[in-house]
Symmetry: C2
Subunit: 174 residues, 2 copies
Amino acid sequence: MTLFARHGYAAVSMRQIEGEVGVQAGALYNYTTDKQSLLFDLFKRHMVDLRTALDAQPPSASPQDRLEAFARFHIRFHLERPQAVFISYMELRNLTPENFRVIEELRRRYEGVLEAILETGRDAGAFHVADTRVTALAIIAMLTGINTCYRSGVRLSLAEVEAIYWDMVRKAVT
Amino acid sequence: MTLFARHGYAAVSMRQIEGEVGVQAGALYNYTTDKQSLLFDLFKRHMVDLRTALDAQPPSASPQDRLEAFARFHIRFHLERPQAVFISYMELRNLTPENFRVIEELRRRYEGVLEAILETGRDAGAFHVADTRVTALAIIAMLTGINTCYRSGVRLSLAEVEAIYWDMVRKAVT
DNA sequence: GTCTATAGATTGATAGAC
DNA sequence: GTCTATCAATCTATAGAC
């Protein structure tokens, strides 16, 4: 994961991986069928963990509370896993077509959760959104971009950044 | 550009590029010193074009108008160049360290324009932003994510999507 | 289950004829 | 300025000894 995040899937050789995990050339194939499945397994685990952790959140009653819970959850989950997040956004095109479809479906289901929250809130008159799908994608793009904050040297605490981002999301849909 | 955007810099061979532009192996080196400079030139041109186009925008008086002009400009510029944008976000780590520094500096200067708009607006009491740097990064992340809208099959017109995104930005900083 | 050795293909880049 | 030929290195993956 570290090597893929740092240099990119295509630029990392099996020999580099072997050196990193402490076996010599060839022995790695006792643990994986090929290089592609190393990438796919990282993707799959990340997406499954994401959904599992989301479903484990305590339920909220109002659309506002559900949106806040989703936003704060998304921010924290992504800030805790910068490498896995990076790979999951950058290496999609290095998945084989069938593996890509699997991951894309998992991603759409996750986005669908936010979309459903926005729909419920809009129908209840709590949110003002022109298009729930577009708005959901915009919110997720903004929240996921939070990882670039720390890469670009912002010196705020996690709680402070979380508060800023949630505040922007709240206002953007009101 | 098409090949790098589709498969990624590291996964594209010089022979693929040669085939695409219609010369045979070897002749390409009459036009470029090496593969790295092909990538760097794409980056540099994109960043220079971005800044040139921004500076060519008609000036606006109020912070609100300046923010709207910036947001709409950013959206349109990025929607018109999905491939160059994709490369400029995905292939940063495939630049050599010295090339990376050049591009990173250009990027920071562009982000600085939005930051300055937010500062002016905040000092004038027009915007409510807790941290101009974090807010600028969040806005740019959201706006740049607009390209995923069309990849994910949203069937709205450019003007409609632009209106939705600008509306979210406007509310988020108010 | 790890090692060495290697197959077979491909890589970026260069040389030299034309 | 394009071509063919090729170098030297590297790639993923496998074979077989231990």
